[in-house]
Symmetry: C2
Subunit: 366 residues, 2 copies
């Protein structure tokens, strides 16, 4: 049984359309709202399930787009209405997480440590996850921006990497090390070279940091963005929220937290890595999803028929039967208004179908 | 303008499930009831359109299964109610065509010449078709069982062949020759060898023959079948039809007309070949269908999107969009209850999907 971590709050950015999982994932019904693993819980629900024991009741804050706020609240009724922050429009991850940090600071004061965990990742290995978070919180209290570095199971070219250096030497967080820096998604040769060093881990975009530290870094790097978020947060729980949001939000700098904070602060020695020895995937495309599932069907297997088609991945999401004949490793996704047919090897190219329909004016499909 | 041929009647056997065109073609909605070419007319309608000018009004008889009789009548309202013969159960082509021949003999007497043309073939080249039929009727009056031999456009392994010999020497049918015999679907090498001789043509299963001659051949080859058909035909237009059908039909020998008549009579010198210099296809599978159409879509092209998928053949028959990414020569058939995904090269294997669903107890899909 896990016990909650005093002063620890979880922030769950719930955004992103997941276009490479189209037509399963749509702009109006993105992947975090979907039970992509067949577990009975959507990715968002599973994320909250994982975090609530660590924060205790009232410790999870979801930041999402205004169009999804109602669905989010319905999916995680265990959160209070104040625990779902609705962004008027998408301004990338720095604004989302920065807003949460600023609101937490207003609500709970200087000692708040926040951990940011995307709503659409899949994690198996609760104990290892908890261990990483607990050590990360210790290092965060020591002033670091802590990132969880996932132990790589192979030289993936789909993820970025973080490089570990010397141990921080913290008694209560013995495995946390200095981060030497981040690397973008590498090619296969580079990825293998990374793993051979034993120093590289997958960068899962999970950050643990004191809210004050995060906002101070932001104030140093992007003062107008920090000021804007501070102004919005001060008004958030009062009568002026709408007015301030209307005025300030549209002008906030659109930037990812990686570029705004993680990379420059790592260069200055302020980022630490805590190893994450759990199974993690961001389910970026159908190839990733197919490998994550135990079977070749997401949904009712009675609706699928494969003949001379080993490894064909089928999502019978429209209630219709799907027959695949002579196409190993095919991907067939059936939904009520769109059928996608491709292969595991073309999983990354699915985005082009979304672009294609957009160019044809079929916004209703996106 | 064509003028009708005195005494000529057309028989259109409308049967066969077309399982290799599943799920477009179903047992309850077979391919002859479908507009497979996008012409605006179903295959059955196009067949009747082609024949009525040659027979004149009232000269086309459709023989179909009882379950399809109502739909057939609705599709070709230009036929009278007496011109659609409903078989209680399928007893193969000899029973179907033999029944029509016997009924025609009862109704119109000894001089009737019938031409049998399947309801689910596609023909382009009306003039050449008419020329072949007119010569065929001349040879039929001379006592021959006449088959139309289609000029082959290539060494197809999907069709059977008929071999021509010496000319019959008929003044009004100068191109009709003796048939030396029939050959089953050959392998590719054999097919090429056939074409090299200049003597082989595709056997399209079209027969032109005097009804009396056909029934006499049948009486010689299969006396009980001939007698059964004669008894049914005598009762057909009277009050006892149902009683006689109930009693006699189930016991009729199930055999194709090729085996019952064409092959043995050819061996005895009684079959003639009239060359057919028109485009013909029996649309046996999706590869054949794809090659027959001018585009890659059967249906509304606005519903299809191909990315890195040249030659992908799509049937958007369920109103949904269909996107194909990275699969050249794929075949995607979308219908309201079944989606089929395969390749042109696997077109012949589609039947196995039908078998697969039957084994799973999904008769509703077949």
């Amino acid at each position: 049984m896990s016990t909650s971590i005093p002063g620890f709050h979880a922030v769950v950015p719930a955004g992103g359309a997941g276009t490479r999982l189209w037509p399963l994932s749509r702009a109006g019904h993105p992947k975090f709202l979907i039970d992509l693993t067949g577990s009975g819980r959507t990715l968002l629900q599973a994320t909250v399930d994982r975090l609530l024991p660590l924060t205790g009741e009232g410790g999870v804050l979801v930041v999402t787009g205004a169009r999804h706020a109602e669905t989010v609240a319905a999916q995680v009724p265990e959160l209070g209405t104040a625990d779902v922050l609705a962004e008027p429009s998408p301004r990338d991850s720095m604004a989302a997480i920065g807003l949460a940090a600023a609101v937490l600071l207003e609500r709970h004061g200087e000692d708040v440590v926040l951990g940011s965990f995307a709503a659409d990742h899949v994690i198996h290995g609760t104990e290892a996850f908890e261990r990483a978070v607990r050590e990360g919180v210790v290092a965060a209290h020591a002033g670091y921006v802590v990132t969880i570095g996932i132990t790589a199971t192979g030289p993936s070219t789909a993820f970025g990497y973080v490089r570990s250096g010397a141990s921080l030497g913290l008694d209560e967080a013995p495995s946390v090390a200095h981060a030497e820096g981040f690397a973008e998604k590498p090619d296969a040769v580079t990825a293998s070279a990374y793993l051979a060093t034993g120093e590289y881990r997958w960068n899962a975009g999970m950050f643990i940091v004191r809210a004050r530290v995060l906002l101070d870094h932001l104030a140093a790097q992007l003062p107008p963005l920090a000021a804007g978020l501070r102004e919005i947060a001060a008004a958030w729980d009062g009568p002026e929220r709408a007015e301030v949001l209307d005025r300030v939000w549209p002008g906030l700098t659109k930037i990812a937290i990686d570029h705004a904070i993680a990379e420059p602060v790592a260069a200055a020695g302020g980022v630490a890595v805590v190893p994450g020895d759990f199974t993690w995937d961001d389910i970026g495309d159908f190839d990733s999803l197919a490998h994550l599932l135990t079977g070749d069907t997401l949904g009712d297997d009675d609706l699928t028929l494969r003949i001379d088609a080993p490894g064909a991945f089928v999502v019978p999401g429209g209630g219709r039967t799907v027959s695949v004949v002579g196409l190993p490793d095919a991907v067939v996704v059936d939904t009520p208004d769109a059928v996608l047919v491709t292969t595991l090897a073309h999983a990354q190219a699915v985005k082009s179908a979304v672009d294609g329909w957009r160019a044809r004016g079929r916004e209703d499909l996106l």
